[in-house]
């Protein structure tokens, strides 16, 4: 729905409308063509599956970030929150493996704990932001440092590793497939669909956009602005928890370097997808496309040695800017 409206007003052609919403997908398609041209392996289903599966963490986190950003906030703490939750999860599961045993129950306990921590961490971000009336940038910059420190502390500066017996049980959550599609991709898809429904079909989603568009108007329309804002951080926390649940079985470990810069990637995915940083709009499928694009760029760079490895970052930067240019070019402004 949000995608249709502008066209109706401007009486502009359908084309503009479609291009604008489709922008990220066009950019994604172009990127895929580029990838295939560089190395045909790119388009192999094995490679695409790898890429898509990898994009699931950032993608799931970015779904949460879409909520926060559309309501006019920002959350810089997601990467270190993910590291912290991974760490606690691993410690807890390693602990329960002794009492509960090497079984799914232990894994479920870990997952439950992850969700609880994600919700709590999100709630903390939200409450400090709204009750303290502090810019979310500062609050989450602070909590970013806090979570990062805590995981370093828990790991004693090193790495927390999941007990090897448990890995066998937990492993399929990352490496397994269902109907031929890897579980992380399913999770990404389900989270995105739910996210889209909540943003576009429920009152909460509508309130996020209203607050992001104009918080005063929202307040005058009898919306509990603080509560909705806080909830967006809780949703973000939940998404981080889900991403963590998928992340942990991949390498079975967490350290001080886990999740570094994920926040920038998640925010970039959201913005590449067409959601405005200042709030008031949301393009959830755009976010999904953005997240996939980001992991695809890294993949393409690994498939060629035409470009000096030193310049990876530059190529990445150029592609991000061009991708956004491509999708913006359809707009009139």
């Amino acid at each position: 729905m949000s995608s249709k409206a502008p066209a109706e007003t401007q009486g502009a052609s359908r084309f503009t409308l479609d291009f604008r919403t489709l922008g990220p997908f066009v950019a994604l398609a172009l990127l895929m063509i580029l990838g295939t041209m560089i190395n045909a392996t790119f388009i192999s289903s094995a490679n695409l599956t790898n890429v898509l599966t990898r994009s699931a963490f950032i993608g799931i986190i970015a779904v949460g970030a879409t909520f926060v950003i559309s309501a006019g906030g920002i959350d810089l703490s997601v990467g270190s929150m993910a590291a912290f939750i991974s760490g606690v999860m691993i410690i807890a599961m390693n602990h329960f493996v002794n009492t509960v045993g090497v079984n799914w129950t232990t894994v479920m306990i870990g997952m439950g704990l992850s969700v609880a921590l994600g919700l709590a961490a999100g709630l903390a971000n939200g409450l400090v932001t709204t009750k303290g009336r502090i810019d979310s940038f500062i609050v989450t910059l602070g909590t970013m440092g806090i979570y990062r420190s805590l995981v370093t502390y828990l790991a004693d500066g090193g790495t927390l590793s999941l007990s090897f017996q448990l890995r066998g049980i937990y492993r399929p959550v990352y490496y397994g497939s269902f109907l031929g599609i890897p579980i992380p991709l399913w999770a990404f898809f389900v989270v995105a669909v739910i996210g889209w429904i909540v943003l576009n079909k429920t009152r909460f989603g509508r309130y996020c956009l209203a607050i992001g568009s104009n918080a005063d108007v929202a307040a005058y329309s009898a919306i509990n602005v603080d509560r909705i804002r806080t909830l967006t951080y809780v949703v973000q926390g939940l998404c981080v928890a889900v991403a963590t649940i998928i992340y942990v079985p991949r390498l079975g470990s967490a350290s001080a370097s886990t999740g570094v810069l994920w926040e920038l990637e998640a925010i970039a995915a959201v913005i590449i997808g067409g959601t405005a940083l200042k709030g008031g709009t949301s393009r959830l499928w755009g976010t999904v496309a953005g997240a996939i694009m980001l992991s695809m760029i890294g993949n393409i760079l690994n498939l060629t040695d035409a470009i000096s490895q030193y310049l990876n970052g530059a190529v990445q930067g150029v592609i991000i800017i061009v991708a956004v240019l491509v999708q913006r070019s359809g707009k009139g402004r």
Binding site: N47, G158, A256, N302
Partner: protein, 293 residues
């Protein structure tokens, strides 16, 4: 005996190896302070070269140190700041990364980065019988990484081993995993991987397992993380050996520095810490289950 304050400045625990450095620095500090009541140790960690320069200033200005043990974040940028400390009359011990100018430090406890690359290369050549296709995963673009890489290539270049490609994996498991996934997708035939670092290697192992290509290749990690050494001890086919680059060198350096103050024996000079090959036979000697690394 007079009170002696020793400042220890090391990089923050941002990845496995520095985590190990932090661990050894802490336990050594505790032990030395206990053994020698007149020794007081101030331990500071820095997230960047700039921060480490700040820490040096603080160690001198606030803590009034008599000796400094430093594992520089990077050699070049810290040469001048360490020189400053030296000029203020402090005894200086440099660990691992040598300064860009000679003659500043009193003691140099050197990790041997080129040796690490060379030993890895030599094992690679031997294990592959002088021919085969390999990929390399490197750390963070730094001098250390360059030294290891150049020494490795020097050995390998002489043989028929083909380096298919290399990429940075930032001493990080996630990057190791992703880069290796892509290498596996791109190259149908890989005989060996030089992962250069244990964190990277652990990511590589998962990627190889996922691709079901455990039987076709082996991995040379590096540093001496306990998990990886455990694998070597068990005789894991995928990681037959490891190449030591011990974070415990910080402990050696602190120890020697403390001795300078508690005994009268001269301890100046350079102490080279070897980078031996860790094999199933000798692995036990390098296994420290209490260390986080």
């Amino acid at each position: 005996q007079d009170q002696v304050t020793i400042g220890v400045s090391i990089p923050a625990a941002t990845h496995g190896w520095t985590g190990g450095v932090n661990y050894w620095a802490r336990v050594t500090a505790d032990r030395l302070q206990e053994q020698h009541p007149n020794i007081n140790i101030v331990l500071l960690t820095a997230g960047s070269a700039g921060e480490q320069a700040n820490d040096l200033e603080d160690l001198v200005a606030i803590h009034n140190i008599d000796a400094l043990v430093i594992l520089p974040f990077e050699s070049d940028p810290l040469t001048d700041p360490v020189d400053f400390v030296k000029q203020s009359g402090v005894f200086v011990t440099v660990v691992d990364r040598g300064l860009a100018r000679e003659g500043i430090e009193d003691i140099y406890v050197a990790g041997d980065n080129p040796a690490m690359g060379r030993v890895s290369g030599e094992y690679m050549v031997e294990a592959l019988g002088g021919e085969g296709k390999i990929v390399i995963l490197r750390g963070i673009p730094t001098v250390i990484d360059n030294q290891r890489f150049d020494a490795f290539m020097e050995v390998v270049d002489e043989t028929d081993i083909e380096v298919l490609d290399w990429a940075y994996a930032y001493w990080n498991r996630d990057d190791g995993f992703e880069v290796m996934q892509d290498f596996l997708a791109r190259f149908p035939e890989i005989d060996a991987v030089w992962a250069q670092d244990d964190d990277i290697a652990l990511g590589v192992i998962e990627a190889v397992k996922q691709a079901g290509r455990e039987d076709e290749l082996f991995i040379i990690p590096g540093a001496g993380m306990k998990e990886v050494i455990a694998r070597v001890m068990e005789g894991d086919r995928l990681t037959p050996v490891n190449v030591l680059y011990p974070p415990a060198m910080i402990a050696t350096a602190m120890e020697v520095t403390a001795l300078v103050f508690v005994s009268d024996a001269p301890f100046m000079g350079t102490y080279i810490i070897d980078s031996p090959l860790i094999t199933p036979e000798n692995a036990e000697r390098f296994y420290f289950p209490d260390s986080p690394f």
